[in-house]
């Protein structure tokens, strides 16, 4: 939908400045775009291409490699149920099935009200707490069917807004480049790169 806003362009430039080569900032900038719009819009990719001096095809090539980037709208909340081995052993599939019934969509689908997207995902590094899931990449452990229903109810009523931002936002806190940033290696690499 949208190019990056002016505010986000400023953040983008700060991010680019922390890498010796602009293209390295591609994935962080895609996250930024996804944070802005909830998904990665075509215009945003073209804008990012400009910012890091590559073609839009290269941006899309990189972006589409990574599962977290969505190129169409998804729900306000992405619910990722792990079904990998440790969770499978502890009921991950049953949890997923329960979730499918509860939300009325299959894994991969988005509810009609645009609130929830359900996904069947690979290991999310919570294996000892199986079955586990993430809501917009925030964890819930040892989730039972009843737990799941509670989560949905809480999310629907905005009771978790303090903890779980809408889809697209990862860390709510950013690294900041201050005057203590040295830039030694960045400049050294630029010297190596320049002919």
């Amino acid at each position: 939908m949208a190019r990056l806003s002016d505010g986000n362009v400023a953040i983008a430039r700060e991010i680019i400045g922390r890498f010796p080569r602009p293209k390295s900032a591609l994935i962080p900038l895609l996250h930024l775009a996804q944070e802005q719009d909830g998904y990665v819009a075509e215009d945003a990719m073209a804008h990012i291409a400009d910012l890091v001096d590559v073609t839009p095809a290269e941006v899309f090539g990189t972006a589409s490699f990574y599962e977290m980037f969505k190129f169409e709208r998804v729900g306000r909340y992405c619910i990722n149920v792990c079904t990998n081995i440790s969770c499978q052993l502890m009921g991950g599939w049953e949890l997923l099935e329960h979730a499918e019934h509860k939300l009325g969509v299959h894994a991969g689908g988005t509810t009609a009200d645009g609130m929830f997207t359900l996904e069947d995902v690979e290991c999310i590094a919570a294996c000892t707490e199986a079955p586990a899931l993430q809501i917009n990449y925030r964890y819930r452990y040892k989730v039972s069917g009843a737990d799941f229903d509670t989560i949905i109810d809480d999310l629907s009523h905005g009771r978790l807004d303090h903890e779980i931002p809408p889809h697209g936002t990862l860390a709510r806190l950013r690294q900041r480049t201050t005057d203590r940033w040295t830039d030694i290696a960045v400049q050294a690499q630029k010297k190596v790169d320049s002919r």
């Binding site: 075509e42 590559v54 073609t55 290269e58 589409s64 490699f65 002919r195």
Partner: protein
Amino acid sequence: MSDTDTEATVPAPVPKTTVSITVDGKPHEANPGQLVIDACEDAGVFVPRFCHHPRMAPVGMCRQCLVEVQGPRGPMMVVSCMTVVSADQAVLTDTPTVKKAQEGVLEFLLANHPLDCPVCDKGGECPLQDQAFSHGPGESRYVEAKRNYEKPIPISDLVFLDRERCILCDRCTRFAKEVAGDPLIHFTSRGNDTQVQTFPGDPFSSYFSGNTVQICPVGALTAKPYRFKARPWDLDQTRSTCTTCAVGCQTVVQSSRDELLRYQGHDDDDVNWGWLCDKGRFGFESPNSDQRLTDPLVVAHGSLSTTTWNAALDAATKLIKKAIADGGPTKLAVIGGARLANEDATAWARLAKRVIGTPHVDAQLGDGLPVELLGLPRASITEACSASTLVLLGPDLKEELPVLYLRIRDAAEKRTIRLIEISPTQTGLSKYAYTSIRSAPGEQAGAVRQLLIDEAEQLAKGQVVVVAGRSNLAESPTFTMDALATLQAGVTGLKVLPALRRGNIVGAIQAGLTPGDGGRDTAGILRDAAAGHIGCLVLLGADPLSDFPDYELARQGLAGAGSIIAIDTFLTSSSAMATVVLPAAGYGERAGSTTNIEGRVLPLTQKVNPKGVSRPDWMIARDLSDRLGGDLGIESLDDAHDLYMALVAALAPSSMPLSNSSSLPPTRGGYDLRLVVGHNLYDEGVALRTSPSLSELSRGAHARLHPIDAGRLGAINGTRVRITARSGRTLTIPVFADDAVPQGLVAVAANQRDQISDLIDIHAVTNDVKVDLA
């Protein structure tokens, strides 16, 4: 860095220049640094491969080329395309393990590959098909559903992609990024869903897209101009040279049933490394065009009508004789010849200068440089690409000499050369340049003087080569020559690679299609003709009305000539004004040779019969000479070739410094913008107009202005503006803001549908125009 004059005095021991390895037990001497796959091939053992391509960096991803190498812990499986030979390496290509692995990879590749060979363009020349026959496991054990994609989708105006056939070898995508520098196609998604795609709304409109079709090891990429035209086994082929521009790319010309069907790049170390630009590659459509001239034409009852060779040659002879009778041989003038083969040009130069005796001969159409340029010590393309400094003093090579652009881009990208560019606007090479200097029309020499100061150290480091040509048709060539003279005076041992664009312009010049003593160049000839001083004007494949920078002069010249004889392959707007039109054999229809910008004499091969009764140009010259009672000294193609080669042999590089006129550009009026006119690859030239697949690709004339200048006009992209020349003539075309154009300049491409040549005064040293909203 150590100082270069403190060279070691002890002679270094002569290093062994080869690496001893064994391939399947047989000893072989490989080149140091060579890849195992190539060494095996040299040793006579072909290792199957799909992703490996000798002109691109190895990626080792298809895994077809697995071999075993004897290591400390027994044989190790490696990909031969990414393993470098090492001393005493024992390479095993046919052990049971290798065979099993190779068959396994092939089975994997075929798992998802459709079984549509019978309707596939690649069928019959498909490496995958061949491999499947020779190494394949036979019946497939893969019973699951195959990948399913929308069948061929256009990824550009010229290329289709069938993702079901694609084996993801990364050749096309690597080519786009590494070789062409146009990464507009890319792998997308991951794993088994990986596919090649363009970005939505951003097609693969690279000038070099056709190469991907050639290097695709399956039938995934197909070229629109060739799709379903023929099956490979019906094709008959021969080696030749592309004459679309003067780079001299080596080609394979393929035909079937006396029709040209395809050009492929031939891998030649010196010139094109196997690549072609799309204009050259798909230009085979033009000679096949049904608009081709097939018969001689003579004006009868006020219009051109078909006649016989005898009648036409008689008519032409009469016109020539009449001109001579009216005022001597100098009443006759010849324009053109860059389309001709060396032999044709030799015959025509002799006809004009010796048989008829006129010095008014010029193969350049006001867009070249004085012929002294070719007398300077010449650099080859490879020398240019391995110089320590390469100075670009000429046009945008990407637009005018595309494969030279590829070679230089490659060298600049790999940083084997330092590229210094002096040009009025940014070019395709600017972003690869070490420095890219903007110099307004006429200020080249000044820029060179500054360069000699600023980069003195770099210029003294080693060989300097300059690529010299016309960066602006709307300025006097003197400026470029002065800049060249300045550079020559400031750099020792300077070598020049001429950036002249027209197909065989170098051959034509070397053959003598240049003004003789007291002879006029094209502009002079047209001016004389306009003044009524030319009794007979011969257009040798030339179309001044669309192809000469000053349209008004061309128009007046053609109108004022006593008569016009045109020798051409098409009836152009200029040849349509002729009294006699003689049809010439086209590309692929005649044998001979051509000379590229390096001075390399390269073969042209006849592949099909000339269209209609058209004839090679040298024959036409001979016939006219006979009728004029002269002695051309050419009875056969070989005669002409020998004469040409003798001329070439007699050429010696001049050690004379170029003269420097120290011209300065006039100051620009306050409201004026200075005009810069260069070429776009896709223009309205006859070869493009008559190639249906290419004819739609020219953008049409448009002006480019610096965003500030555009802003001041109040123009947004696409706004139509009126450009007014000093002469008062105007042209109304759309404008685009482009920061590649410095402030104060307006850039317009030559020879587009709306002709900027309408506005250019070829005798003005610069052309200043006013631009305002239409």
